[in-house]
Amino acid sequence: MSERIPVIKTPKVYVGGAFIRSESGRTFPVYDSGGQFIANVPQCTRKDLRNAVEAAAKAGPAWSGRTPYNRGQIIYRLAEMLEARADEMTGVLRQFAPAWTSAAEQEVAETVDRLVHYAGWADKYEQVLGSANAVAAPFFNFTLTEPIGVVGIVASDSAPLLGLITQAVAAIVSGNTVVALASESTPYPAITLGEMLATSDLPAGVMNIVTGYRKELTPTFATHTHIRGIDAVATGEDATALRRGAADSVKRVKIRQPDIDWSSDANESVYEIRNFVDFKTVWHPIGA
């Protein structure tokens, strides 16, 4: 009996709920930690990124319009999906991490836990961040948060799954939608994550992932008017370029250092959610 030849998966990126190649047809090869060729992943272009922003912008109103309780359940469901496929994800991470099995297992476990943590915030952060304000006149005055819209993420190389999810979930829990550029050196886990997102209950377009080169795509992240906030792992010139481009449309930029400890509990905080919400204060007279 002849040996069965395995079917090799063509990596595609997850944008607007669909699996797509780059419109340019370009790809770049990825290798495992031993230098062995694994696959060609899409080398997304600025056009791909703009399309992803469009998908995110379209998904925004419906996502932010869901009840917080519902968003919490959907994010919790995402944790369930990842836990159920922990072996697959661990295997992918292990392929690229020059570390032992335990490091990959730990990253997946911590990612699941992080999702659970933020799932719980969905219907609670408002009571921590918002307020009723005691003004010196007969007015009912209160301050609520609203999502800012589309958040652009430039993900970490050091924890290609945990870093990406930490950045993304803090943004989407409040009703933002996300366009993320996966780790350039290790994009494959984000490709696999896309496949898990597709089987979760997260609506299409809420989280969009592209793969490609930072140099090519970060200027578009910085200047695209519909991206209202940026959360990027970047240093030096990349960080400067992101901030400078962001000035054109007055968007807020959070820069993280590459040596950030993604495992730290400091990444689990209502103040991470606060980075990408706007505060809205409403006044109404009290009277007959």
Partner: protein, 510 residues
């Protein structure tokens, strides 16, 4: 002579109106025209403005190193009020040195309850000298005395009083985290509310344990320097607050200084973007409170007379020099005609003139430059096809004055509907449905404030949720309070001032 207060005449016209509009019971309007003159009612308190002001650095008034001064003009008379020091980069540097020193040796380590007492003292001293500050503010900036007296100065004092109380309660600002002051903060403020903006900036910063280098606007530095005298009276430790004066170059030296751990800016979106680019490399923390083009949305079921008052106050308050001014009126088509008529009638009664007169509603435009800009934009409105209306009020022969103005037949593409005019100019658009109102209101790069007028509670809450703006006034407009967070969406900026949310922007979390 115009006399329209004639009951019999009014009765017959109101019948016609009833036929035309089918509702809206007409009440005789009390328009006396020039039947009687108002007697002058000038506020006479001594503003105690010195002939010349130096810089306030390290608790002392010090001459600018280059020895240069510039004139501050009273926009109502075009006369020089005082001379203001022009701070160079070297002066700005010594201000930062003083601030850093105060932060490291005194302010950071002072217990919150003691720090708070200084801030309380400032509030009290400002209340003591409120009338004097109000007169100085009106002379230097051109705003009517009734506004500086009843709004700017008391509200400035309230900001210090409110934030003083936070100084020993910072542990409650950020549940789950420890808060620390940021360090030395650089602040740049605009000319529309000189003393109030100074209070908005300084009060939360120092209450949270930061030290400050602040630059008032070039045309309105007098009350900031008077405030420096008050800091001396309060015996605030030297260097906790440093005030440097000058124009754009001084501002750039301040915002670009390497010792600034945070920059807080209030001003135009254009300059805000320049500062963001300037700080791109260093990555300095920022809050930006920028321009606006607020929509004031009036539905057909709104309390019409209150809405007219609100719209008038929303755009003509402080000569329209308000970043959150309700400069676009969106009125439902079914009531547009009677509403605009009432607006015009109300505008006839507005008094433009001497800012120090207690009867003045609209004072002087802050500067020649701003007056030119307003004129240019109003001209563009006429050229682009909108219909201009101005009341017949007399203007003083000297000084920078502009009549309250409204435009009808405005389309969304007109410059007067898109650009921030920062003057007493209202652009009126109409809408038929709520969705159209939301679409039009949000069709702007700005998102600072918005207003909605309707009698229906559920509609208010829906509109409040849909309007993309940091402050939504429902059945009111232009209300402010130190406990109430203020700040913008989109290109109106980020960060908040006021309340717990604003205070969080002046601390580091760990």
């Amino acid at each position: 002579m115009t006399v329209t207060f004639d009951p019999s005449e009014k009765d017959s016209s109101s019948k016609d109106e009833k036929k035309k509009h089918g509702h809206n019971k007409s009440v005789p309007e009390l328009i006396f025209g020039d039947l009687w003159e108002y007697d002058p009612a000038p506020e006479t308190a001594d503003p105690r403005i010195r002939a010349r002001y130096d810089l306030f650095i390290g608790g002392r008034f010090v001459a600018p190193q280059a020895g240069e001064y510039f004139a501050s003009i009273n926009p109502a008379t075009e006369e020089t009020v005082t001379e203001i020091a022009l701070a160079s980069a070297a002066d700005v540097d010594s201000a930062y040195v003083a601030a850093q020193m105060a932060y490291e040796t005194v302010w950071r380590s002072m217990p919150g309850r003691e720090r708070g007492k200084y801030v309380y003292r400032i509030a009290r001293l400002l209340q003591d000298r409120a009338r004097e500050f109000a007169v100085a503010e009106s002379i230097d900036g051109g705003k009517p005395i009734k506004e500086s007296r009843d709004f700017d100065v008391p509200m400035a004092a309230a900001h210090f009083f409110y934030h003083a109380g936070w100084a020993d309660k910072l542990a409650y600002v950020a549940p789950g985290r420890t808060v620390e002051p940021i360090g030395v903060v650089g602040q740049v403020i605009p000319w529309n509310f000189p003393l109030l903006m100074l209070a908005w900036k300084i009060a939360p910063a120092i209450a949270a344990g930061n030290c400050v280098v602040i630059k008032p606007a070039e045309t309105t530095s007098a009350t900031a320097m008077k405030f420096a005298e008050l800091l001396q009276e309060a015996e605030l430790p030297d260097g906790v607050v440093n005030i440097v004066t000058g124009g754009g170059e001084t501002g750039a030296a301040l915002t670009g200084h390497p010792a600034a751990r945070k920059i807080a800016f209030t001003g135009s979106t254009e300059v805000g973007k320049l500062i963001m680019r300037q700080l791109a490399e260093r990555g300095t923390r920022m809050t930006m409170e920028l321009g606006g083009k607020a929509a004031n949305v009036v539905f057909e079921d709104s309390p019409i007379d209150q809405a007219v008052e609100g719209v008038v106050h929303g755009i003509f308050f402080n000569q329209g020099h308000v970043c959150c001014a309700g400069s676009r009126l969106l009125v439902q088509e079914s009531i547009a005609e009677p509403f605009i008529r009432k607006l015009r009638e109300r505008m006839e009664t507005l008094r433009v003139g001497n800012p120090l007169d207690k009867n003045t509603d609209i004072g002087a435009i802050n500067s020649r430059e701003q007056l030119d800009r307003i004129c240019e934009l109003v001209e563009s409105g006429v050229t682009e096809g909108a219909k201009l209306y101005q009341p017949s009020c007399p203007l003083p022969s000297r000084g920078y004055f502009f009549r309250p103005t409204l435009f009808t037949e405005v389309t969304q593409s007109h410059r007067i509907a898109r650009e921030e005019i920062f003057g007493p100019v209202l652009s009126i658009l109409t809408f038929r449905t709520m969705d159209e109102a939301i679409e039009k209101a949000n069709n702007t790069m700005y998102g600072l404030s918005a207003g909605v007028w309707t009698d229906k509670g559920s509609r208010i809450l829906r509109m409040a949720a849909e309007l993309k703006a940091g402050v939504v006034w429902a059945n009111t407009f232009n209300k402010f309070d130190p406990a109430s967070p203020f700040g913008g969406y989109k290109e109106s900026g980020f960060g908040r001032e006021g309340g717990r949310q604003g205070l969080l922007d002046y601390v580091d979390l760990s």
